[in-house]
Assembly symmetry: C2
Homo-oligomer: 371 residues x 2
């Protein structure tokens, strides 16, 4: 199905199951090529045959049904370009260290996904009044070995509140950047939930269950949860959901050697969940002064915005700290400090990048973005 | 406040915070004396002064209010005799070993609690239509050090569905067996939630919050949860709630030496959550034959039933396995085998007790129960 060589550029964070990271310093295009897109797997990749694959829609629906692959391909489709970021992206920067995969900057990518709106499938099945959530279950299954240990194998599953499930951007995707969905990205069909962290975009989708209760699956109670205290209630562990506003620097990379007294093109990407990035600011002196970066494309919901900044590097050699921070249309500004309520997820605070300014340095990359 | 010597008979499972177990083989009364009642603490015991103590009632209520200790004592009270069992009772018998406090048989006790029905307090505050749950918060707080690590100190809290919260047996107790509630048992006021595992009976109660959402506190998502798959939904981690049906043997104790060819009084207790124990059966040959035990009192909801069985011990010396199992009015029968869905909680499967039958043995205890 896939050529192992095609993933050659990815950083292995875990080999089995497959957890591979995009080398973010190589960012040079608006759309991340399929073979460069990060891979997050909780269990072994299930080998699903599109001929026998069925998507069951059940629970509180008038017409429980099964959709096969050809049925799905015949339904009206739409494409949505969206950034998917793993909820644990940037975890390696947390101090003190926490458990979980030690992602750097590259558990994020941006692709054009094509498929059938989840709303259309739900409408066909006829969702009952009183529905609260829609549970998406993947064909991938395995054992949870840390506590709470699972009773044998469990399937990956996540729920969406009905309101989000019915939004037009949420699709059951069978194409990624115009090609058939790759095996590691959920072949034959995955959910794509723009604006939410990647854990909501259930891969290898096989089952949709409509329910009038809040779903309490493992991946939204014990795992993929963060601390919050809404509406004066005692503190809770809520399911990780919407993506935070965040800018990341592709170049300079951490500890990169930069030539003194030169013109250096800093660049990166920024995203804002269900909102739009309106501003990226850059600091090249450890956060004392901030200057606006320039965007390389218009704002659009769900997709990241590439940005660049022309840095006139200092004449004095030494160690310098560069940073970037994003703001969005909702007024959210990327925070400078880590909020411990977020546990091991939603790591969006500004990451200082230390660079070495030296008399001579390798020439900066001349690539321009492919937009 | 308390004399450490008064807890001399309890088994220390953890010293700080205080987690002490009743030596179940010494069971000899229907009501467990206060100083013999097991203690389960998540955090250090808070020192609450009844003069400054207030119980806040807030959230979706018409009249948010604070009740002080004297107010509460003036409200109409009721007494309820109920068994409280820790959800982790008997954990030491699980194989393979699991994390958590290694309780034997004695994280259970039966007491008469006196206080004000929670329903009366909720009625006074005026609960809004659409209320789903009532959250009970304790004055005890501390840090969760394992993942998910808490952001600083959090308070102990648990919720009840409104339907359970309004049941007449659920009380805010200020007396235990006719005495002022001891410090370690929640002084000045604790919830007592008959029929549910002990974690619902929030101690050192300071705050009640009425809400239209399902509460997802730490102690009912990551902790005190079990695996279940209701209504065809993918598997979930649900909050531990109602107590399972269970009989425990007090004597013979594990590995007790019993005299051959003698008359031995086996005895113990059985309970059934919100139901009533209707039958206890005993096997003295490893489960091949079961014979009915006799009850020492009438069935009553919420309180355990003491039982005894006259065992004519075998003439052949050697190792024998004795067991007891309970049934309840709802038709539940205590299972023979552990269900792995229950994780580290709700440990109610039949426990085989191995005893040594020998030619001579210490005389069996002659105590009769105090009922």
């Amino acid at each position: 199905m896939r050529d192992p060589a095609s993933f050659a550029g990815l950083i292995i964070r875990e080999k089995d199951p497959e957890n591979l990271e995009f080398p973010f310093s190589s960012l040079n295009s608006f759309v991340t090529p399929n073979e460069q897109f990060f891979i997050r797997s909780h269990f072994a990749v299930p080998k699903l045959n599109p001929r026998s694959w069925r998507l069951k829609i059940e629970g509180l629906v008038d017409r429980p049904c099964q959709i096969d692959y050809n049925d799905l391909l015949r339904l009206p489709s739409r494409s949505v370009t969206t950034t998917l970021e793993c909820a644990g992206n940037s975890r390696i920067f947390l101090t003190p260290k926490v458990g979980g995969l030690q992602w750097g900057l590259g558990a994020v990518g941006n692709a054009e996904w094509t498929g059938v709106p989840l709303a259309a499938v739900l409408e066909r099945a006829g969702v009952h009044a009183g529905t609260v959530e829609v549970v998406l279950q993947g064909g991938d299954a395995g054992e949870i070995k840390k506590e709470p240990q699972s009773p044998g194998k469990i399937h990956y599953a996540r729920s969406l509140p009905l309101e989000k499930a019915l939004r037009s951007e949420v699709i059951l995707a069978y194409q990624m950047n115009g090609a058939q969905l790759p095996m590691s990205h959920g072949f034959p069909v995955r959910a794509v939930v723009p604006g939410w962290y990647g854990m909501a975009s259930v891969k290898w989708l096989t089952r949709i269950v409509v329910t009038d209760r809040v779903f309490r699956g493992y991946f939204q109670t014990s795992d993929y949860a963060y601390w919050d205290q809404p509406e004066g209630l005692p503190i809770q562990l809520l399911p990780v959901a919407e993506v935070e506003v965040k800018a990341q620097i592709a170049r300079p990379a951490l500890h990169e050697v930069v030539r003194a007294n030169s013109v250096y093109r800093m660049h990166g990407a920024a995203w804002a969940g269900e909102s739009e990035v309106t501003k990226v600011e850059v600091s090249t002196n450890g956060g004392r002064m901030w200057k606006p970066a320039e965007f390389l494309g218009a704002a659009s919901r769900y997709a990241w915005r590439l940005w660049e900044y022309t840095w006139h590097t200092p004449s004095r050699v030494g160690r310098y700290t560069v940073m970037a921070r994003a703001s969005d249309a909702r007024g959210r500004v990327q925070p400078m400090h880590r909020d411990p309520h977020r546990g091991t997820y939603m790591i969006s605070h500004v990451q200082p990048i230390e660079v070495e300014v030296q008399e001579s340095a390798p020439p900066p990359p001349t690539d321009r973005y492919t937009i």
